[in-house]
Structures are given as C-alpha cells and as structure tokens.
C-alpha cells in the first residue's frame, strides 16, 4: 500500500505492552482513515456497555492517507473513544504536529487500551516506543505540559496532552496540542485521564510512502497558490472564524442567554471587528496557509485564542460583553483542557438555574468573576464544580425535571454556537450529528438562510446528508481540514486528485461519499448497541426550548421551531439514509454498505427491520 503506512501502534497500558498491528488494504479502502478507522476499531473491539472511564475503553488516535502530506491544512488527526459525556461514539479532530510525526513515524493510528497505575506519557520515535513516568507532569496545565515536554525532548516533536480537567475526569475534557488546538469535545480528554495518560509525544523521521510523490508535490504547490488567490483570503486571515459573529447576530442565530435568544444587545462589543483590533498574533495547525488561531490578550495579559465557537458560548450565551474577559475564560479552559463549547453551555445553564432558584449558588448573567470561579471549580471538581463537570444533561437530571426543556444538548453533547429557533435545517443537522449536537458534520445554516428559513422541505434533508457525506465522512477520514473548501471555496475535486497521487487508488467523490455513509451507519450501530431498547427518535430531537419558547428579541421575534415539521424532516432523513422510523438502519442498508456482520451483531440487541 502507498499513501497509507499500513500500521497501527497498539499500546496496552495495564500490561505495559506495545505491539504493532499491520492492517490490510480492505480496512483502508472501506474506511479510509481517521474517523473511519476509529469507529471500525471501537465497534469491533469494545465490549458493549463498558464504562467509558474504565480501562476497558479504548482511545483511538487516527490519521488518514492525506494527513501530514505537503497539502493544504493536512496537519490534522482524529481522537475518539466511547464518550463519557454521551455514552455513545465520541470523537473530535485537531491540528497537531503529532499528526505529521505519527505518519512519519510509520503509523496511521495509535490505539490505547487499559490504564496505567501511575501517571505516564507515551513516547514514540519511529520504532522506539516507551511508556514513561509523567509524575512530574501530572497536575500541570496544557501550556506547561507542552513546555516541559519540549524542554525534555526538543522542539521537533508532536504533542497531544490533557490538562487538569482530563485528569479529574471532567466529562467534557478535551485533548490539546500546539498551545491552541483542541479536539474531542465528548470527553475524549477524560478518557485519556482515566488511563492516567498525560501526554502522547511523537517524533517521526521517515518518509511517508507515496504512489506519485512528484505529482503530489506539484498538486500541493498549485493548491496552496489557489487558496492564497481566493478573493476573501485576506479577510479570512484577518478575522478567521470570528467573522461568523457579525453574521450570526445579523441572522438572529447567535446563542444568547442559554439559547433563549438569537441576538445579543452587546454583540458589537465582542465581534470579529473588535477581535481584529485587539489581535496580537496568529497561530494555527501545521501545513496550513490559512491559519485561523487569532490571539487576543486576556485580562491578565496572556494570549488567548479567539474562535467563533469559544466566543459564541462564553460570550453572549452567558451574557458576557467584554472580549478581554471572554479571552480569560478561554485561556483558562484551554489551560485546564476543557471544551469551551460545553463549558459555555454549562455556565449559561447554571445562570438560568440560579435565576429560577433551582440551585443554591447565586450566579448572575454576565458575572465574569463568578464565571471564572466556576471554570476553576469545574476543572478540579470542587464544590458545585463536581456537579457541573458532569455536563448539562446530567446536571439537569439532578436538579429537576423542569430544567429539561432548557438543558441545551442533543444525545448528551452540548449544542455548539448556533441558535435554531428559526433554522429547522440546522436543527436537523444538530439532531443527526453522529457525536451529539456538534456543528462539524453539517453546517447547513448558511445554505438554509440562502434558500429560505421557513420551509420544512426535503431539499433541506438532502443538503444535510450531502454535507455529512463531505464534512463528516470525507474530511474526517482523509483527514484534512474542511475550511479551505467551506470558507474559501477551494473545490472538492482536488481531494480525489490528492488521494490518487498519494495512494495510487482512484476513488471518485461519490466513492468517498459511500465510505461516509458506511461510517455513519456504523456509528449509528454503535449508539444503538450501547442504548439498546432505550434508543428512540427523541435521541435525534433538539431540546424543547426551541419548540416551545419563541424568540422575543430581534427581527425574528415570535419565531420558533415547529415540532411536527421537525419530525417530518427527521422521517425524511431516516428514509433517505435507509433507516427505519426509530432511526435504526434497515438490515438491507447494512448489507448494501458491506456491513452484514454489523447487522448480525446488532440483532442481538434490537430487532432490525
């Protein structure tokens, strides 16, 4: 095989054992890499019902055949496990030198099983693999962890690490890298913490085997130039994802006061234009020429990364109207290794619960000092932080049934920064996202606004599926970043050419979308095996707030989602995917996708139609 290394590094931390697995071409062609490899491994190898924070869970770190090559925004990898937040499949992608080094060390993935007795970190240098003591790192934040590891191993390494939140098993702890990148929203950092694994350090020195290296380099050069020449390149470089803030306010989709509203009265104090004025530096992932990590100073003078999602959830969603204060919360979350989206949702939920008298703690909207205190308490599970570290679904179950309507999550994962009172297509996208309510798979809202927001029509369903195939299937398995395509209009056809030059295999975009469908069906099977009889279509339905409580502010005051309309979209979605009315794939659908063995296994848990 060319393009793929054909090797997976296997680490058993309980047995202190390292092995190298060679995998066959079928895995590569059926699942490509990244998310595809992750779900295949987790489906095949995890015991159903396993406690996600027990040694029996497995942590998968997976690259794809384009990862680490001299191609645009290709320095990314996927981290995945059974999620301690949702109980289902969980993953995330992040940019990291670890992606490039993993591939150059001769592997496409690492699978970590078991748990160490004392804190350790993994050191990989080509064939040399060591499990080393991390006792001097345990308790450190992610910035200090990276610094210490670089002092020890030199700068030419890739690092994935967790902060105190991962160590303390905060259910929405992430994995961090490059002093700015984060991935694994559904608590993949907590899985790493449960294994007492503080960090993974990789140094790779080999060449990645390529089918046509000359062609690949040529395509790479052309592609980088193409991206740089795009008309909106300059603006992107200046504002990155923060440009979305003004857009969301204008369209009344900015999450505000725990998703009660879609507009914020102080939005113009915390948007991309303000960020641009305060900007002191720009960071990003390896191999990227459109780096999006824009750095602003926080209240302590530290540099924090200002991405739209962070600012959406830790700004308007908690009523905070000062960009420097928001930057402080982001810096703290990044240092502790907490997902900023879930964190903003948890704090917003806590503020609302306080306002309604459902908790004793007094936390007012926009109270920066209190928010800071909560972030620290969550990271260390101190006082109320122990409950808040569980995520909004569990907090809501604890404080009372009446809070369920405004516990803003789907499948247990907190909703990312788009209010859907008046965006039924986007609500469907959140509902059917395979890890819970995340925007990564099908960010359909922009297209929806272009064609009309009122409609509950089948074209919206088709668009959600199209995006899921491209974003959630293709990009997550190749693994490269989707932003050149979606933000700058870089054409998808490039990726089939890249893949051909890297691997020698001709796969059309349609072939890649079929792989995407296979991945989706398998992820769905994973959820259903875990939830068995408890699985139903409510798992794909957004919280009641969007259906029951209309917007009260802005040009779209009075708008809310129509419940029956949403259910109609969901039924069409199931039908198009070949899933039944419960959202479970038909036996025939599994068979068509080459997943008959999955159907056989799943029938032990639910009756298939």
């Amino acid at each position: 095989m060319k393009g793929w290394n054909g090797k997976i590094l296997r680490i058993d931390l309980s047995a202190n054992k390292v092995t190298v697995q060679e995998y066959d071409e079928k895995l590569a062609l059926d699942f490509i890499g990244g998310r595809g490899f992750a779900i295949k491994i987790l489906w095949d190898e995890l015991e159903p019902g396993v406690d996600p924070l027990s040694p029996k869970n497995k942590l998968v770190v997976a690259a794809g055949p384009l990862t680490g090559l001299p191609l645009p925004s290709s320095g990314k990898l996927v981290v995945a496990a059974k999620s301690p937040l949702t109980g289902g499949y969980g993953d995330g992608n992040l940019g990291s030198m670890a992606a490039n080094h993993l591939r150059r060390a001769g592997y496409d993935a690492i699978v970590i099983d078991g748990a160490a007795e004392k804190p350790v970190y993994l050191y990989v240098e080509d064939e040399k693999v060591e499990i080393l003591s991390a006792e001097d790192l345990w308790g450190l934040g992610t910035f200090d962890t990276e610094k210490k590891l670089k002092e020890k191993h030199g700068k030419n390494i890739g690092i994935l690490s967790i902060g105190q939140a991962g160590e303390n098993l905060v259910r929405y702890a992430v994995i961090r890298s490059q002093e700015g990148r984060a991935g694994g929203r559904p608590g993949i950092g907590a899985v790493m913490g449960s294994k007492k694994l503080k960090a993974i350090v990789i140094k790779g020195t080999k060449e990645i085997p390529l089918a046509d290296p000359e062609e690949l380099r040529k395509l790479g050069r052309e592609a980088y130039n193409d991206i740089k020449g795009r008309p909106n390149y300059d603006f992107w470089i200046r504002q990155g994802t923060m440009a979305v803030h003004v857009w969301c306010q204008e369209n009344s989709v900015l999450p505000t006061y725990n998703f009660r509203e879609g507009v914020f009265e102080y939005a113009d104090k915390i948007n991309g234009d303000v960020m641009e004025k305060l900007k002191v530096a720009r960071y990003g992932c390896p191999n990227c020429n459109m780096q999006c990590g824009n750095m602003n100073p926080d209240t302590e003078g530290r540099q924090a990364e200002m991405d739209y999602e962070n600012v959406g959830l830790l700004g308007s969603n908690i009523g905070l109207a000062d960009l420097k204060q928001i930057a402080t919360l982001i810096w703290m979350a990044d240092n502790y290794g907490i997902d900023t989206i879930s964190l903003g949702s948890v704090i917003g939920f806590t503020m609302e619960a306080s306002e309604k008298g459902l908790i004793d703690e007094k936390v007012e909207w926009g109270d920066f000092e209190k928010a800071k205190e909560l972030v620290e308490k969550i990271a260390f599970r101190k006082g109320i932080g122990d409950l808040l570290a569980e995520g909004v679904k569990r907090i809501s179950e604890k404080i009372g049934e009446e809070s369920k309507d405004w516990a803003m999550h789907i499948k247990g994962l907190e909703i990312s920064a788009y209010d859907c009172h008046y965006a039924p297509g986007m609500a469907l996208s959140f509902g059917t996202s395979p890890i819970g309510a995340h925007h990564k798979d099908a960010w359909v809202i922009s297209w929806e606004i272009k064609v009309g927001r009122d409609a509950y029509t089948k074209d919206k369903v088709d668009k959600v599926i199209e995006f899921q195939r491209i974003r959630g299937g293709m990009f997550e398995s190749l693994v490269t970043c989707r932003l050149p395509w979606i933000e700058l209009g870089f054409e998808l056809e490039w990726y089939a050419k890249f893949l051909k030059a890297a691997t020698g295999v001709t796969l059309t975009l349609n072939d890649l979308y079929t792989v995407g469908d296979r991945i989706y069906a398998l992820i769905r099977a994973f959820w259903i095996r875990e939830y068995e009889g408890k699985w139903n279509r409510n798992m794909d339905t957004p919280p009641a707030r969007w259906f029951k409580e209309p917007l009260t502010k802005g040009p779209f005051a009075g708008k809310k989602l129509d419940f029956d309309g949403f259910q109609k979209l969901l039924s069409w979605y199931y039908e198009s995917r070949g899933w039944d009315e419960r959202g479970i794939p038909h036996k025939e659908t599994f068979e068509k996708l080459g997943l008959s063995y999955v159907a056989t296994e799943l029938e032990k848990y639910v009756k298939l139609s």
Binding site: P231, N232, A243, V246, W247, S446, G452, I486, E487
Partner: protein, 71 residues
Amino acid sequence: MIGWIADLAKFKEKEIKIEFPIKVKELLNIKEIDEIDEERIIVLINGKPATLETKVKNNDNVVVMPVIGGG
C-alpha cells in the same frame, strides 16, 4: 454587507437612491465578483432570498453576506 463581502465592497451599510431598478450585483461594486461562485453568496431583499441578478427598487432593504462554514 456582511463579512468578507463587506470587506471587498468596502462598505457595511449605506443608503442609495436609484433612478430605476438595478441588479444587486451592480450595487456591490466588487471587481472580483465574477470570480466568486454565486453559490457562496447569500442575498436577502426585505428578508426574502434573492440573487445577485435580482433587481432592486428604492426602499428595498438589501443584505448581502457570504455562505460561510462556521468553524
């Protein structure tokens, strides 16, 4: 105008009086406009979906913004 469209058009908001209906495209005055795939641009006139080719009359409220990816 919003986002990179505003950046290329070099204005965010303005009131224009027109003699006779003209296309949204002509209001924008973006020299690169033909290089941009129209699929990547959202046009709303009085809140309703429209295109760059739609004609605008006096008192119409025109919003032009990019189709974006949202991180």
